[in-house]
């Protein structure tokens, strides 16, 4: 009986410890926040000789920047005036954010 009681006490104690461990593991496995995930992203260390290659990689290619070869007048009003003066229709590119900047 005593043995049984002791066993029960040990069993309860063991269960309590296991539950505590399990709870701690649950807390440890809480999903990482986006900021924590981002913090683990390795960033390249850029050396000075690599700068031109990085510049060319980031900046638009000739094809991507082809729109900038058009001689855009940067306002609607000036475009409309020029349209009348040159007797040509106005091709107007309209965006939220200036089309020649960040849209």
């Amino acid at each position: 009986m005593k043995h049984t009681h002791r066993s029960s006490v040990f069993a309860c104690l063991a269960l309590a410890i296991l539950s505590t461990v399990a709870l701690a593991q649950d807390q440890d496995s809480k999903p990482l926040s986006d900021a924590e995930i981002a913090a683990d992203l390795r960033l390249p260390y850029i050396t000075l000789p690599e700068l031109p290659a990085w510049r060319d990689f980031i900046r638009p290619t000739e094809a991507e920047a082809s729109y900038s070869s058009v001689d855009w007048i940067p306002t609607f009003a000036d475009g409309l005036r020029a349209s009348a003066e040159q007797n040509k229709p106005l091709l107007f590119w309209a965006m939220n954010g200036h089309p020649l900047g960040c849209t």
Binding site: A38, L43, P52, E64, R81, A84, K88, L91, N96, G101
Partner: protein
């Protein structure tokens, strides 16, 4: 298509102001695009339009499909050919003046940078170039330039450019490669360090840049409550960047001969604006800052939020509320 554009006068402009504003050039756009009315709804007017000064819209398309753009241009040219001389002229009473344009704040004698942001894969330079990129501009006045790059700089000086780093972190190291996003408040900048080590002296100095920034926004709007950028919903997001760069500065002319500043960054979260909800996982972004071309002068997206005395804003942001909300449709 580039050849076809030579048959037009080509213009580009920010349309939100034009479709919602009450300045004369805005009213002219609204009248020409609707056949004489004010625009009172919030529907988009983005895209390519063909206008005749005295006849209004000849064609319009809002698409990324080049075939459809070509069709719209052809339709516009065909319609133009049918017009009378009078329809091709500006109506005599058409007022095209504008009271305020942000580019009028251009800092003569200062530093104007062109910023390109591009999505960056985990292989960096050795990976595929992402097609997600977006330009912007960053402006600094002559006083701000001289404060950062003093006339008395000499070989082996380390210049503290933390105020420049702070402006870049708040307004230009922004995850907008998918489209416009939101600036950071000053209180959201946890780190803004940028140092230029001076190499050489004499008339021009070579400057080696190194630095770091960290901007963290939670779900509270911490910029001006009246800001035109205040979103309908504030979502946590952040950006952490590391700078590397090289420039050659003419001390006597107070002008950069060359300027290359690279920032690679970790981004997380998104905003209601930047389309990142389609791809919400944290990732990398890369930025290049170089000297802006002299023309055209395009204002920085968040110039209105710079919070400096040299940026002059309109007394009333005319496009904040639609005409319908202002009751202007009864005018």
């Amino acid at each position: 298509m580039l050849e076809l554009t030579q048959r037009f006068v080509c213009a580009a402009d920010e349309v939100w102001r034009l479709q919602r504003g009450s300045e004369p050039d805005c009213l002219a756009f609204q009248s020409l695009s609707t056949g004489g009315k004010r625009i009172t709804d919030r529907g988009t007017r983005q895209g390519f339009w063909v206008f005749a000064p005295g006849a209004g819209v000849l064609s319009r398309v809002n698409t990324r499909n080049p075939e459809r753009v070509l069709e719209a241009l052809d339709a516009g040219l065909a319609a133009w050919d049918e017009l009378t001389d009078e329809q091709r002229k500006l109506p005599k009473d058409l007022d095209l003046s504008s009271g305020h344009r942000w580019e009028d704040n251009f800092p003569e004698g200062g530093l104007a940078l062109e910023r390109i942001g591009r999505e960056l894969g985990n292989k960096g330079l050795f990976g595929e170039r992402s097609r997600l990129w977006n330009p912007d501009y960053a402006w600094f006045t002559e006083d701000e330039l001289v404060a950062g790059f003093p006339d008395a700089m000499k070989n082996e000086d380390d210049l503290d450019l933390s105020s420049i780093a702070r402006r870049l972190a708040r307004f230009h190291l922004i995850d907008n490669v998918r489209g416009q996003s939101l600036p950071f408040a000053d209180s959201e900048i946890e780190l803004a360090e940028l140092t230029a080590s001076v190499l050489g002296g004499g008339d021009s100095a070579t400057l080696l840049f190194r630095g770091r920034t960290r901007a963290v926004a939670d779900d509270t709007w911490r910029l001006d409550q009246d800001s035109i950028w205040k979103p309908s919903k504030v979502i946590a997001h952040g950006m952490e960047c590391e700078f590397t760069g090289l420039a050659v500065y003419d001390i006597h002319k107070r002008k950069f001969n060359t300027f290359d500043l690279i920032a690679v960054g970790r981004r997380w979260g998104h905003t209601v604006n930047n389309g990142r909800w389609r791809d919400p996982a944290p990732g990398r972004v890369a930025f290049h800052f170089g000297l802006a071309p002299d023309m055209p002068r395009i204002a920085p997206t968040f110039l209105s939020e710079y919070g400096t005395d040299w940026v002059v804003a309109p007394e009333v942001m005319p496009w904040r509320d639609s005409p319908a909300e202002c009751g202007l449709e009864d005018e």
